[in-house]
Symmetry: C2
Subunit: 408 residues, 2 copies
Amino acid sequence: MAAALQGIRVLDLARVFAAPAATQVLGDLGADVIKVEEPTRGDEARYFGTSNDPGDEPNAASPPFVALNRNKRSIAIDLSTAAGRNAVTRMAALSDVLIHNFRPGAMERWGLGYESLRAANPGLIYGEFFAYGREGPLAHIGANDLALQAHSGLMSLTGEPDRPPVRCGSAIIDLHASLALVVAILAALLNRERTGEGQIVETSLLRSSSHLVNYFYGEYWSQGIIRTRMGTANHLSVPNQVFPSADGSVVIIAPSDEMWERLANALDRERLNRPEFATMGQRQRRRDEVIDALSAVTRTMTSRTLVERLGAAKVNVANVNSIGEAAEDAQLAAIGGVVEFEMNGRAMKAVASPFVMEGTPTVVTRPPPNLGAHTDEVLTELGFSESEVAQLRAQGAFGAAGAKRSSA
Amino acid sequence: MAAALQGIRVLDLARVFAAPAATQVLGDLGADVIKVEEPTRGDEARYFGTSNDPGDEPNAASPPFVALNRNKRSIAIDLSTAAGRNAVTRMAALSDVLIHNFRPGAMERWGLGYESLRAANPGLIYGEFFAYGREGPLAHIGANDLALQAHSGLMSLTGEPDRPPVRCGSAIIDLHASLALVVAILAALLNRERTGEGQIVETSLLRSSSHLVNYFYGEYWSQGIIRTRMGTANHLSVPNQVFPSADGSVVIIAPSDEMWERLANALDRERLNRPEFATMGQRQRRRDEVIDALSAVTRTMTSRTLVERLGAAKVNVANVNSIGEAAEDAQLAAIGGVVEFEMNGRAMKAVASPFVMEGTPTVVTRPPPNLGAHTDEVLTELGFSESEVAQLRAQGAFGAAGAKRSSA
């Protein structure tokens, strides 16, 4: 069966991180994603974590770029030229979805706002990705994942109780926001199947960050409680944190009274299966006592013993893995969580989209593209004649160098 | 215009956290979500962070339950009874989507597996939510958000460099997984529009956790690098962390050379706009020097001054907010990020779904339901006769107490 989004064309004006992550998911679902890049250096994410010095090769492929840009073709367009903007307008008329993450108002100033494009294409779904949103007191402020970790309060929840807040170590707000935008785009495509009408859909780092801490805001709104940092522990249940083993540490979680009883019996019935620890309310009130008693038991056992005994007793338990251990995890490979492709002659691996569709499986049709590798191919496919392409090139639409690069 | 999923019926067998978060998004999009709950105490999440003692009121509404269960009706069904399972089978035949998060194999043992249900309803989209996936060496292990923060390596990235790892302070893997499942369900609905066929779709906490750290795995796979904790800093660019102000602290990020130059000129041209700091490669190599020089400048200014000056210079800057400050943020309210409803006579607020659809706006049609409040209403709507409902009740399908509760 064809992939779920086969036949859907996505004109992708997104750069950097979160919005490209969204268009990669659309590509994994089978959409034809055309990545529009600035002609000189392309998407900044190509250089993230690399030296990023001015002499850098424009086809640098940083780990974030490789992680987030498969299943896309790259077309180099200089949006500062009228010819470049005209080419985008014409491509948008033939696309199902357009996505951008420029600052509020930038697309409108270029004549590429929704109202300008919908006239020629009323079915267009126009996806916008903002930092704090299109309007409001902070709309003009730029932001990234870290800024929203701080602004949303997530950072205030993360760290040790008596130490300063820390960052959640990955760009989780960016990646969450990417799925939020995909949800809105797919819902808009469904609506279009019935009505024929496109629409504007939008997400922002602010919205996505608030979704990631929604139950903390709710608790504050309803009860005035302001939670802070608890190390590895959790205010929702006890035990629910890292415990020391004889040779390392493991996470142990028993969120129900039944699971706590199984835990107590599996590890040390006498010291743990005590009436004063039997209910969640009691364990919450005696948090320190429960943690001390359980730690005294776990310190006498290896991590392996703890994982085996608790796993067998259907108690939630996990190793605290390094990035290397996690990337090599046999379970991740067993469920098809790793995809492979060849990129510029080199075998590469990447993380799959975070879901499985059994009837219409996700696909890997292309590696992350070299900058502008598909400029001519895409324009020809979209009906631009050879002479029109040549004219666009002469007018600087593909950059001052008239970049005509070989296909990937 | 009607909401995007109007007319879509979702039979929601999900409990606890991540999967209910997914069905709430479907409800916000206009789907009719029928939450099937165990009759005695219902969804465990009702009690999260409350005392959770045996005498607790079954309509307890913990902050996580309120945050994740609006736009649903509740029907109380005892799946341990044949009558209860028969009622679910009959409801599934009339539904577009079914979602569950029982352990692998549980639904099949109850005769509620996909193969059993598709015969009567080939268009059914059957969404499964697992901990580590359906198959593989860890498939039988239970898990929660914290377990996957540890297993995925995310925890190893989170914390201070010379201190033990900590938890990202919210259930981010749960919430990310919720959107992953929604993406798969919407893509399956789109495919069904064209083919008429349903399918199984699936996510797991493992898949979602790996997506949240995908660029770290990629860096390990391609270069063997194992990143660890950096406090609030980030390996991708410098500066990108919390800096001290005269009266607190702020996040400052300048991920491009142009933004760094604007920052330097806005704060202290002489001390910061130095040739040896001009490129990202230089700032990465001189990380400690850059941070020391910038900290020396930021310590002399208030947080407010820093936010104003850097915001005006289009440099990414943010306050480190508490949960209370973040929940009261004027920007979040300005973009419609907060929804309101009345629940059991009390005005409540909650965080909106993390996207906007301008043409087919999301809706709030109902507060989180009381346990079993809609059992009779839903069954009658789905064509069960009064005598059939009475028979199910007599057979224990709605629990031993024959729970007939009043509507919410």
